[in-house]
Subunit: 141 residues, 2 copies
DNA sequence: CTTCGTTTGCCCACTTTTCCCCACGTTTTA
DNA sequence: TAAAACGTGGGGAAAAGTGGGCAAACGAAG
C-alpha cells in the first residue's frame, strides 16, 4: 500500500530546487504532479491520485467551475526530478506557499504537502486538540 | 493525457506577435484554433477540442443561438505559428482581450487562455476563496 | 501601367532561462 | 570501518523568448 507519511525538512537552493524525499520518490515514480491547495501550501500527487482529483473538476461545466479551474490548473505542473531527485519550484508556486529557504514536506496519506517551515510550525502550534478530539468522537474513532 | 497547465508570461511585440509556450505547442501541433470567450480573454483549442466545442454550438437552432454564433465564429481563426513559435494576434481579438504589451497564457485543462497581464492579476486578486472552498467541499475534494 | 508605401511572412541574432551533468560532504547501511 | 545512498551546490550546454531586418505581396494613388 502506497502511503505518504513522515515529515522531512529540506532547503530550497538558489535555483529554487527542492529535494523530494527518497521514500516518496519510490512511491511517485519518474514524474508526478505538483499543484497548489487553497491553504498556503503545495500538494504532490501521484499521476493516479491526480487523475481521480482532476477528473472530478474537469467533469464540471465551465459555468460553475471555471473559477476553480482557473485557480488550480495554471498552478499545476508535471514535475520531473533531476538525477539528484530535486524539482524546480516555479516562482508563482513558491509565492503561493510563501516558501523561503526552509521547507517541510509532509505526508498526509494519499498525497504529500510542501510547507514553508515557518508556516508549518505556526500551524502545529495553533492546533486545537479539543476540536480534533470532538471530531474523532463524531467519526467514531 | 494532453493537459494544459501552468501559466506563462510573454510580451506582444510591435508586430502583434505572441509566443506560444513550447510545452503547449507540443500538444497543439502545427496549427490550432484561437477564438474569443465571453470574458475579456482569448481561448486556444486543439483542433480536436475545438471540434467538440463548436459542434455543440453549431447543433443549436439559429432561433436560440444566432447571437452566440455571431459572437464566436467571426472572431475565430486557425493559427499557424511562425518558425519561432509565435502567432499574430489580429486587432479585433487584441481589442477584445484588451491586450497590451504584457500577456499571460494560462492552461485550464482542456484548453488554454490568453489574458492581458493586468486583467489576469486583477482577476486573481478578486478571487473568492470561500466559495471555492465550498465548491470543493461539495465535490468531496 | 507604374510607383510608392504599407503590410505580411520569413529569417537571423541576441539574451535569458532552463536543463543536465559533475562534485563535495554528510548520513545511513552493510 | 568501508561502501552506498542522500542532500546540497555550482558550472556549462542547450533551448526558449524577444527584437529587428529584409524581401515578397498587396493595394492605393498618380
Amino acid at each position: 500500500m502506497e502511503l505518504f507519511c513522515r515529515e522531512y525538512r529540506y532547503s530550497l537552493d538558489a535555483k529554487n530546487r527542492l529535494a523530494i524525499p527518497a521514500k516518496y520518490r519510490e512511491i511517485l515514480g519518474e514524474t508526478f504532479i505538483i499543484t497548489r491547495k487553497l491553504d498556503p501550501c503545495l500538494a504532490i500527487y501521484t499521476h493516479e491520485e491526480w487523475q481521480k482529483y482532476s477528473d472530478k473538476i474537469k467533469a464540471l461545466p465551465d459555468s460553475v467551475a471555471m473559477e476553480l479551474k482557473e485557480f488550480i490548473f495554471p498552478k499545476t505542473l508535471v514535475a520531473e526530478p533531476d538525477s539528484q531527485g530535486r524539482v524546480i519550484i516555479p516562482g508563482d508556486l513558491k509565492d503561493h506557499a510563501q516558501l523561503d529557504k526552509n521547507a517541510v514536506i509532509i505526508g498526509v496519506g494519499d498525497h504529500a504537502q510542501i510547507w514553508s517551515e515557518a508556516l508549518w510550525e505556526e500551524r502545529e502550534k495553533k492546533r486545537d486538540l479539543a476540536s480534533l478530539r470532538e471530531l474523532m468522537r463524531q467519526l467514531g474513532l
